[in-house]
């Protein structure tokens, strides 16, 4: 799979006044659709909604949520939730269940970024082996990509990238 769908999806999440259906997170609750200003750097966090209850799988997500400053999480980070579905028999309930699970997970863990459910399944492969973080620049070109578990220093790099416009 190419990363083009990721770019398009991420761009739509950050640029559109009314983003994809989102669930959980303070930005979603406050209706904050204008979170990532045009031209800003941003991160897309690809997650498997069916793995949220798995403690080892969720450790990297919680570490990311703890390490990144709240204002960055709320303004420059969006999540994309994949979920399992029989391709031959699409079931709209599955997407709603993924959103419901994310809401519960956010409540218990204080997750501070919003997320959209990827009903297109375009990004499924990015969460197959664990959480993947994509970093984008203003032109929506991918700069970096990591899959959890993260090596030492990765979170610091991500924070630096999202907060310092000059560092690449």
């Amino acid at each position: 799979m190419t990363l083009l769908p990721a770019i398009l999806l991420a761009a739509s999440l950050t640029a559109a006044p009314a983003p994809m259906r989102t669930a959980g997170g303070p930005a979603a609750r406050s209706g904050g659709a204008e979170t990532a200003a045009a031209g800003a750097r941003f991160a897309v966090v690809c997650l498997d909604a069916d793995m949220l209850a798995c403690s080892p799988c969720g450790a990297s997500l919680l570490e990311f949520n703890r390490a990144v400053p709240p204002e960055i999480l709320e303004e420059r980070v969006v999540g994309v939730l994949s979920f399992r579905e029989d391709a031959a028999v699409p079931d709209p309930r599955k997407a709603r269940l993924a959103r419901t699970r994310w809401t519960g997970y956010c409540r218990a863990n204080g997750i501070r970024f919003r997320a959209a459910v990827d009903e297109t399944h375009a990004l499924d492969r990015l969460s197959e082996r664990g959480m993947t973080i994509l970093l984008f620049d203003a032109g929506a070109g991918i700069l970096r990509r990591w899959t959890a578990p993260f090596e030492p220093g990765v979170l610091e790099d991500i924070i630096r990238f999202l907060t310092d416009e000059k560092q690449l």
Binding site: L52, A53, S55, R93, L97, T100, R101, G104, Y105, A108
Partner: protein
């Protein structure tokens, strides 16, 4: 609780019987859906794990996704939510089970070597240490409690203790020299104090006396699990066998089959108290558990733990 229109499903047992590879008698079981809690449009339940119904019909859940315990009235109104993520008193990382016993609610966390005690309003009272992580807990006829605890990956014990936590006796369920890890264990107690045990990773249901002596044991599925991999030299199975078991007021034992069953999470095998398999039927949707309340209503999960459904079970 959302009351559903009465829909009686009579399910022939034949398909499940063939799938399980057993020559079981055909029984017809009716499932009448009476009510549901949660659902994809609700934020009542996110991933419920344990369920218990008290003498007044209030329904308690442990929810592993929002790290909480929840109490619903008999008609499905959320009365109380307790617990939060953490490792302290009244906190959970992954609550995986609970049991309402008299005025107390006992709840346990995945991998925690303790049981937390709450009152019926879900106010935290105390924590009881356990000799291993708890898989299941049930009340015995005399008021003592029995807990299945995993002391190690292989060794599982039954600890009998008083409601205040004082140990009374214990016995081993598994042999520490066993090769295969048993996985989590389900427990149901009958009025004599004997108990039924079902093993997640073994094609095995047992009945044992209150002192641990084996009364009978039976393979339920047509096949056992293959071996997937080894962890610390211990073979781990590729499939699950017994997800859950529960006993109804007439002494019938309902055993929910895992991925090694023909229809994972749906095939339910019905046994008599002497271990005779009476037949089987299939749930409408996969569930992770089966539970009977004191009025013999059956509770199962749906939507991957976002929904609970309550059924009346009838036999033809």
């Amino acid at each position: 609780m959302k009351h559903r229109s009465v829909c009686v499903l009579f399910i022939a047992a034949a398909a499940a019987v063939f799938a399980a590879g057993k020559d079981l008698p055909a029984v017809r079981v009716g499932l009448e859906e009476l009510a549901a809690i949660g659902g994809p449009e609700s934020d009542a339940l996110f991933l419920w794990t344990g369920i218990s119904v008290d003498r007044d019909g209030n329904v308690y859940f442990s929810d592993a996704l929002d790290c909480s315990l929840k109490k619903f009235s008999p008609d499905g109104v959320l009365l109380k939510k307790a617990g939060r993520k953490g490792r302290g008193p009244g906190e959970f990382d992954k609550p995986v089970g609970l049991a309402a016993v008299g005025e107390r609610v006992y709840a346990w966390d995945l991998y925690d070597r303790s049981v937390q005690v709450f009152d019926r309003d879900l106010a935290y009272r105390e924590t009881l240490p356990m000799p291993g992580s708890v898989d299941a807990l049930a009340v015995l006829p005399g008021g003592e409690l029995a807990a299945c605890v995993r002391a190690s990956l292989v060794l599982t014990k039954v600890l009998v203790f008083r409601p205040d936590g004082t140990p009374v006796r214990e016995f081993d369920l598994t042999d520490p020299n066993d090769e295969m890890a048993p996985g989590s264990i389900s427990l149901a107690v009958d009025p004599s104090g004997a108990a039924y045990y079902g093993y997640l990773f073994r094609n095995l249901v047992e009945k044992r006396s209150d002192a641990g002596g084996r009364i009978w044991s039976r393979e339920i599925l047509g096949r056992g699990p293959g071996v997937l991999s080894n962890v610390q030299g211990i073979p781990l199975p590729a499939e699950t066998c017994i997800l859950s078991l529960a006993r109804d007021g007439r002494g019938r034992l309902f055993v929910l089959g895992g991925s090694a069953a023909g229809r994972p999470g749906r095939d339910v095998f019905v046994l008599g108290p002497e271990g005779v398999v009476l037949g089987s039927f299939a749930l409408p949707e996969p569930s992770h558990t089966v539970y009977f309340d004191q009025r013999d209503f059956l509770y199962v999960s749906a939507d991957g733990g976002v929904t609970m459904k309550k059924y009346r079970v009838t036999f033809e």
